[in-house]
């Protein structure tokens, strides 16, 4: 029951998606998975490892996550076509690369909540601070 992107949603579908989440996102995710399966073995292994990391620590949920996985597939398809060695793709520090990659997309909800809480707490603390002018004297 795949739906095309241009098909206007029926009421039933709108209701269904309240329960299942966006079917369009699911379709795009399945497509992404199929693209990864087509990769030569070493690229597939590396792409799946990157996906696992992103699922656990990255922006796995919410809008933008699907776009991130599609970009990931673009990168690996291109690298496979160019014959870029895996080490050249990831560099010396795979974590650093994956974090830089993930930083381009909306954070998973709990991560941004945790960050925002820190930002506002520091802001509050700074506001409460007495006599913060004239630090130099």
């Amino acid at each position: 029951m795949a739906t095309g992107p241009d098909e206007s949603k029926s009421r039933y579908l709108q209701y269904l998606e309240k329960v299942t989440g966006s079917l369009e996102d699911k379709r795009r995710y399945r497509q992404y998975k199929a693209r990864i399966k087509q990769l030569p073995e070493s690229y597939r292994t590396a792409a799946e490892a990157m996906e696992r990391y992103l699922m656990l620590l990255g922006p796995a949920d919410g809008a933008g996550a699907i776009a991130m996985y599609e970009d990931l597939a673009d990168l690996f398809e291109q690298s496979a076509a160019d014959g870029t060695p895996i080490r050249d793709l990831f560099g010396e520090d795979p974590v650093e690369f994956v974090e830089a990659f993930a930083a381009n997309y909306p954070l998973g909800q709990w991560r941004s909540r945790v960050r925002n809480r820190l930002i506002s707490a520091v802001e509050r603390a700074a506001d409460e601070e007495p006599g913060r002018q004239d630090r130099s004297t």
């Binding site: 970009d71 673009d74 990168l75 398809e77 291109q78 690298s79 496979a80 076509a81 160019d82 870029t84 050249d88 793709l89 990831f90 560099g91 010396e92 690369f97 830089a100 990659f101 930083a103 381009n104």
Partner: protein, 109 residues
Amino acid sequence: MGKQATEMLKGTLEGIVLAILSGRPAYGYEITAWLRDQGFSDIAEGTIYALLVRVEQRGLVDVEKVPSEKGPPRKVYSLNAQGREYLEEFWRTWSFLAERLERLREGGK
């Protein structure tokens, strides 16, 4: 390339990539190859890719998909007006930094 050079490069990589693109449009692999030729051998292809995604999202570059003989179409990036403005600011910042550091070095002699 040493670790220190890699660390220093990080902060300026965005400006470097935009400067490359100001000369002519390019796709990710060309940029990485150029950097390698210039002696930046530790630069990961993926790092450049993530950076290109970022400058695209910030509207500094235009992207065109160009078919390639082998594999999927390539995304070719070119600097747009907003990117040019950003690049000018990058060079101003760079001049400031380079001048201050040079002064610091001379003061230390």
